[in-house]
């Protein structure tokens, strides 16, 4: 027996329970291809833990709503008249029809199109047509839209079907510090959603989960993007051999990959970094709009976002300058959102900033970006290749030889290492083991 395949064999690979398919340095390819495992993931993970559903900027006022999914279940996230955020199952209590088919908007409530049962923004059943048939049969206050627990941290809104889940802030733990750092890219203003790219690929959701903590692939898969950007941006992303670029395991399956550590905390600026030439026209516009040198510098240093990918288990990554949100469709199909972010401030300042941020986003992200299609090609290949030799492991052992605790106590290795994947799979193993 080789050490590599000692735990998975052709004889045992289909008999091992899901949790046994994750080992400290490897996982079985079955994790990508087994429909039975996918079904268990939907209940044991996506209906059991905190799932990111919205950013607070997507719900700017009372009546704002957004349709999305928790795992495979359709939900509506709303802001009600009291300013509370609600996550409601998008399913009429009468015969099960969806009550909202708009992606986003503003509403006073939701009326089922089938028999016109109507619900308020917090999900309460308000009206039933021809109610005499329900007298003594249905009590309206007992059949609201199903509400999911909903909590938020620094603009990030999460929901869970699990009433026994730990408080969100406990689930996030040390991630909170990194969320706070991420939001500094507003350059002194809050961060807001500018738009969302959506694309799909024929592969398992965990292939995408791994990718945002995979520094190793960057200069290889993204050589085309690297060749197209200015030298300053290419230099910024040249982290392959820089020992200061590290990945931390933050616990609970979360991790952070610091590709540009000098931009991890955008408040720290010793003044030596030159603003990129590509933003000369923007700088002139900002100065003409009345921004002083310090504000211009703060905004322009943030144009590429932060210097890290913060990967939250299981469905969202706060990735440099955008959110990556994954939605599992089936064992071999996943839909992805790339949510573009900008600053929320006075128009004369943030309009030119956000316009240029949109162009930076379009350059890499989305179905026709210079980065995303190459990622998707890689993931498609993983799904196809992983059909072969199910006993042969997927390796997640890069950097085990140099992983050590940081002063904060976070297991840490180089940014090109697979510490973040190991963190996610350890959480996956724990959740898939729970009865």
């Amino acid at each position: 027996m080789t050490s590599e395949t000692s735990e998975f064999t052709t004889k045992n690979i289909y008999d091992l329970p899901p949790a046994d398919l994750v080992l400290p340095d490897k996982v079985a390819g079955r994790l990508y291809t087994d429909p039975g495992i996918f079904e268990k993931e939907m209940t044991k993970i996506f209906e059991h833990t905190w799932i990111w559903v919205a950013h607070e900027s997507e719900l700017p006022k009372a009546g704002s709503f957004k349709s999305t999914y928790v795992g495979r279940q359709p939900v509506i996230v709303t802001k009600d008249r009291r300013g509370n955020i609600n996550t409601l199952l998008n399913r009429c209590r009468h015969r099960g029809a969806s009550v909202c088919e708009q992606k986003k908007g503003n509403a006073n409530g939701f009326t089922c199109p089938y028999h016109a049962w109507s619900y308020s923004l917090d999900g309460k059943l308000r009206g039933i047509p021809y109610p005499e048939g329900y007298e003594g049969v249905v009590e309206k206050d007992e059949i609201s839209l199903k509400r999911l627990r909903t909590e938020s941290y620094n603009g990030m809104i999460f929901a869970t079907f699990n009433d026994d889940a730990e408080p969100l802030e406990e689930f996030l733990g040390d991630v909170r510090l990194w969320i706070d750092r991420f939001t500094k890219q507003g350059g002194g203003y809050p961060v807001k959603v500018l738009g969302t790219h959506q694309f799909k690929f024929k592969g398992n959701w965990k292939i995408q989960l791994e990718n945002t903590t995979d520094g190793y692939h960057f200069p290889i898969v993204h050589r085309s993007w690297m060749a197209s950007v200015d030298q300053e941006t290419a230099d910024m992303m040249s982290f392959m051999t820089d020992p200061d670029c590290v990945t931390h395991d933050l616990g609970n399956g979360h991790s952070v990959m610091q590709m540009v550590p000098e931009h991890s905390d955008l408040d720290i600026d010793d003044g030596t970094e030159k603003l990129q030439d590509r933003f000369d026209a923007l700088i002139a516009e900002l100065k003409a709009a009345g921004a002083d040198d310090a504000q211009v510098r703060k905004l322009v240093r943030s144009m590429h976002g932060t210097g890290f990918n913060l990967n939250l288990f299981p469905n969202v990554s706060m990735s440099i300058s955008f959110f990556r949100v994954l939605r599992p469709i089936s064992v071999n199909e996943t839909w992805i959102e790339h949510v573009a972010l900008g600053a929320d401030g006075p128009d004369e300042i943030v309009d030119p900033v956000n316009r240029d941020r949109l162009r930076v986003h379009e350059h890499f992200q989305g179905p026709f970006g210079f980065g995303t299609p190459d990622d998707a090609e890689g993931w498609d290949r993983v799904q196809r290749g992983a059909q072969g030799a199910p006993e042969m492991p997927i390796l997640v052992n890069r950097g085990l030889n140099r992983e050590a605790d940081s002063p904060e106590g976070w297991p840490t290795s180089h940014v090109t290492d697979e510490t973040g994947m190991r963190a996610a799979y350890a959480k996956w193993k724990q959740m898939m083991s729970d009865d």
Binding site: K103, L194, G195, T196, H197, Q198, F199, K200, F201, K202, V221, R223, S224, W225, A227, S228, W335, I336, A340, D351, N354, R355, L358, R359, H361, E362, H363, G366, P367, F368, F370, T372, P373, D374, D375, A376, E377, G378, D380, R384
Partner: protein, 174 residues
């Protein structure tokens, strides 16, 4: 002579096929479609005016591409880089791109002058890769500058009917 057709008026076949200015514009749109299906990207780039735009918006209604997120919003500089990306061999999605075949038809003249023609049209594209066919349907609007020196595309806007939903990541152009 300028002819602006109201969006609700039904153009006669003669107004499309009987106007040599419209025929020139349709011919250029078909030529572009053929070059894209054959992945002749250098030649494709040459069809565009220096000030031309190639746009695949997300928002079905917007004309303000500057301030909205698009799938593609290419000026000459971005088109140059995109053609390099599609041809230089580094982009694994382009190296292993789907084969495509597209039909552009149902041309509606929107604005016809001696110097410029704007056409709405329907495009149906089928992309084949690895035992899978994907359907891409869009309304394409072409603005074509007519010139004795050679007609050029000054704006092409591709409005996918599913632009607000997830589409496959593509290694080809629409």
């Amino acid at each position: 002579m300028t002819e602006t057709l109201s969006p609700t008026s039904a153009p006669s076949v003669a107004s499309v096929l009987g106007d040599p200015r419209v025929i020139r514009a349709v011919g250029l749109a078909w030529h572009e479609a053929d070059l894209l299906d054959r992945k002749q990207y250098e030649a494709w780039k040459g069809l565009y005016a220096e000030d031309g735009l190639y746009v695949i918006p997300l928002d079905p209604e917007t004309e303000d591409f500057d301030h909205t997120l698009n799938m593609v919003y290419d000026d000459a500089r971005m088109r140059d880089m995109r053609v390099t990306r599609m041809t230089e061999g580094y982009a694994i999605a382009a190296v292993d791109a789907a084969r495509t075949v597209r039909t552009v038809s149902r041309f509606i003249p929107v604005l016809v002058t001696d110097s410029e023609v704007t056409l709405r049209s329907a495009q149906v594209l089928v992309a084949y890769k690895r035992e899978n066919h994907d359907l891409w349907a869009s309304e394409n609007t072409y603005t074509i500058r007519l010139s004795p020196l050679g007609d050029e595309i000054v704006k092409k806007v591709i409005r996918l009917i599913d632009s607000e939903g997830p589409v496959p990541a593509a290694g080809f152009l629409l």
